[in-house]
């Protein structure tokens, strides 16, 4: 059992939790994730470690309501517990220090940039965070990210906040602008379509780009092979070799198709949970 110390809604479909997990906090690194279960008979789902506080023995996660399990998680409050939390799993983000690193976050992905940007800024790297959302209310953690990265660029599809347009358009501007504002490396975390678009944006410029793949996982320990992602023509296990891979080598088409394998079953499970937050799954996925 892992106790929830704090919980706070960030948007109607995302919630931030601080968990009492000293062992995980002690060894977590940027880019890693935990596997969690809410209840007996529940699914094991992977959730990124957004941040950790070794001294306090806590980790922070941000969960976006996508289906049955994430809704059950988002219904929990401080004092409640998660049945199982195992981690940290996966490999840490491997980027050489020095230079200008640009994190691109969409949806819950923004949260995953917190510890990465804090660490890079502390190393003395130049850091930029580009946050994307459909509209102003769905932008998360902009203030927290502003504290840990040198600059934060908010982009909204409808122009209600910051740059009017997609994260990739803003990223393209930074690249075209040249000079110190041009990133040397990009880390994109968010919906698969966004990560693919980022890959397409940086590819012609040969900018090193990592994406955090989120395939369906079962164990998260390298035992089932369900999380395999095709990278450079080779099957790689996201839970062991990833979840971050070279964006220019990833076969996104296959990854996106594989993530839709259980849409029918997910709908059944989700309908059983009902609308915890009063929103339908349609709204939740649009919120991406």
């Amino acid at each position: 059992m892992t106790r929830i110390l704090d919980a706070r809604r960030l948007t109607p479909v995302t919630k931030l939790f601080r968990l009492d997990a000293p062992l995980i906090a002690a060894s977590a690194r940027p880019g890693q994730f935990v596997m969690l279960r809410v209840r007996e008979g529940g699914e094991r789902i992977p959730i990124t470690i957004a941040d950790y506080d070794r001294a306090a023995g806590t980790i922070t996660i941000v969960v976006q309501e996508a289906g049955a399990t994430t809704r059950r998680v988002c219904a929990l409050e401080p004092g409640d517990s998660l049945l199982d939390v195992a981690g940290p799993l996966g490999s840490e983000i491997d980027l050489p220090p020095g230079g200008h690193i640009c994190g691109v976050g969409g949806g819950f992905g923004a949260a995953a940039l917190l510890c990465l940007m804090r660490e890079r800024s502390a190393f003395g790297d130049r850091t930029t965070t580009i946050l994307g959302a459909r509209t102003k209310e769905l932008v998360i953690l902009a203030d927290e990210l502003a504290r840990v990265s040198r600059s934060v660029e908010v982009c909204t599809d409808d122009g209600s906040d910051g740059f009017h347009g997609f994260v990739t358009q803003r990223l393209a501007q930074l690249i075209a602008g040249g000079g110190p504002g041009r990133p040397d490396a990009v880390v994109a975390i968010g919906p698969m379509a966004m990560m693919r678009a980022v890959a397409d944006t940086t590819r012609p410029h040969g900018i090193k780009t990592l994406v955090s793949m989120d395939p369906l996982m079962v164990d998260g320990t390298g035992m089932c092979g369900g999380c395999r992602v095709n990278v450079g023509g080779q099957p790689r296990f996201a839970c062991v070799d990833g979840p971050c891979f070279d964006a220019h080598e990833v076969d996104f088409d296959t990854a996106m198709r594989r993530n839709k394998a259980y849409v029918r079953e997910e709908k059944i499970a989700s309908d059983l949970v009902g609308c915890v937050s009063g929103r339908s799954q349609g709204d939740a996925s649009q919120a991406l």
Binding site: G41, L89, G222, M223, C224, G225, G226, R228, A261, E265
Partner: protein, 465 residues
């Protein structure tokens, strides 16, 4: 009664048509009468060669004699003294190539049904109220990595010797392959849970959700947490793929994923349990070991109309337990021997629609001594299937070795360990089971755990205090 001496007393089993659609255990277990009858078949050999066939040298003659004499308590005690997992091994050991292969009754007649009797005694024991109390007398703490059979047995032996033992398990439940791999219809979870309850009653602590190499390193265990010795029983759980086109289509599973979804995550109970699995009308399982047999029979139970084995060698080379093979035939599993898979065909929407294969013939023996399958030219054909399950083998999981300095491995990633003691290249770090041997058997893993426990005890007893 001549029949009595020639043939094994049959094991009562669920009728094939019915059991192919449920997850209840196939075998019902001997009745007292059948067990007594079978025990009487044993010749009580002066030199019980059967024992040579058992990797942990159970005094087979003696426990069977005790059954024949109606001394169940004695039989259970003899069994347990040599094998801490009798209820499990009686069910899943490949007896036909171990104890029963050596039995003097074999050859002309059926060998004594040693496995069935072992199971009978262990199941009897399960009905008894066991008064177990922790008897921790020593102070040196032992850390065990992995709660599969090797780790469980090592823990049990050490606890019996008086050591405080903690098992760290990566998943949310202990058991290893016994929980996530071998299905309920062969090894009921209640049997496994009972064995684990005994360990807990003996004082063994089991900590789930801790991945050594990630949550804690092996060196943390020895340096920071003060474990005097470590046993590694992390298994060989990393599935292999074929590298054929279409392997990443939806509906293609490794056997580990397929079985884990169903066994550990209870997808058979979806949507009461949250993890789904998609089993179509026709399922092809590639491979012919125990894993393949479990996957193909599970597919039937999950509602497939047709479930088939596709194997590039012949039935001669099949490595599954012979009883499972016979059960699979009775349940209606189809077997495509000498059939090599070439490609999984796309249905046009990213799902598997067929398995393209070619026929093979057996050529010269290869390095393993088995005749090498050679493709027959122009023999390609397509099996229409909705699922393909790959059961072509596993390799050791690299999570621990990647993060532990000084832990020597073979080229295949298996841990190097002394055969007699399990000692690895690191001081006071021992290993056993599939992590050392590559995918093998429950009893070999259990035996390795037991040997390592005694080696650990010997090493600690020799240390100055």
């Amino acid at each position: 009664m001549p029949v009595r001496r020639f043939d094994k007393t049959p094991m009562p089993a669920q009728e094939a048509q019915a059991r192919a659609h449920n997850f209840f255990e196939v075998n019902g277990g001997y009745t007292a009468a059948r067990a007594a009858f079978e025990a009487e078949r044993c010749l009580r050999c002066q030199h019980p060669v059967c024992v040579d066939g058992c990797p942990v040298h159970i005094p087979i003659r003696d426990f069977i004699h005790a059954v024949a004499a109606g001394n169940m308590t004695g039989a259970a005690r003899i069994l347990r003294s040599a094998n801490p997992l009798p209820a499990i091994c009686g069910r899943v050991c490949p007896q036909e190539s171990q104890c029963e292969a050596e039995c003097s009754m074999g050859g002309r007649f059926d060998p004594v049904a040693i496995g069935h009797l072992e199971r009978y005694v262990a199941d009897w024991e399960r009905t008894q109220a066991l008064a177990i109390e922790p008897a921790i007398t020593k102070t040196a703490k032992i850390g065990i990595i992995g709660a599969g059979p090797s780790g469980l047995v090592c823990a049990g032996e050490l606890a019996r010797l008086g050591y405080p033992v903690t098992i760290y398990e990566a998943l949310h439940a202990p058991g290893g392959v016994l929980r996530y791999g071998i299905p309920e219809f062969r090894l009921p979870k209640a049997v496994l849970d009972w064995e684990i309850d005994i360990l807990r009653a003996m004082g063994v602590e089991i900590v789930c959700n801790v991945i050594i190499g990630k949550t804690l390193t092996l060196d943390d265990l020895t340096n920071r947490l003060g474990y005097a010795a470590i046993f590694i029983g992390t298994g060989a759980g990393l599935p292999q793929f074929l590298g054929i086109p279409g392997e990443n289509l939806n509906g293609v599973y490794s056997a580990n994923e397929f079985l884990t979804r169903i066994n550990l995550m209870r997808a058979y109970d979806f949507p009461n349990a949250d993890t789904p699995v998609r089993v179509g009308k026709r399922v092809a399982v590639i491979g012919a070991g125990n894993t393949a047999m479990d996957a193909v029979r599970t597919a039937l139970r999950m509602g497939a109309d047709e479930a088939m084995i596709v194997y590039r060698r012949s039935d001669e080379e099949m490595s599954a337990r012979v009883e499972e093979y016979h059960h699979a035939i009775e349940e209606g599993v189809a077997f495509h021997w000498l059939t090599g898979p070439l490609e999984v065909i796309d249905d046009g929407s990213g799902w598997a629609a067929g398995l393209k294969c070619q026929r093979m013939e057996l050529g010269e023996p290869d390095a393993s001594g088995r005749r090498r399958p050679v493709p027959i030219p122009d023999s390609e054909f397509v099996l229409p299937v909705d699922n393909v399950v790959l059961a072509i083998g596993t390799t050791p999981n690299p999570l621990l070795t990647r993060t532990t300095a000084g832990l020597a491995t073979t080229a295949k990633g298996c841990l190097l360990a002394d055969e007699a003691t399990g000692l690895t290249s690191k001081t006071m770090v021992f290993a056993g089971g599939d992590a050392v041997t590559g995918a093998a058997t429950v009893i070999l893993a259990a035996g390795a755990g037991k040997r390592a426990a005694h080696a650990i005890d010997a090493a600690l007893s020799a240390q100055p205090h």
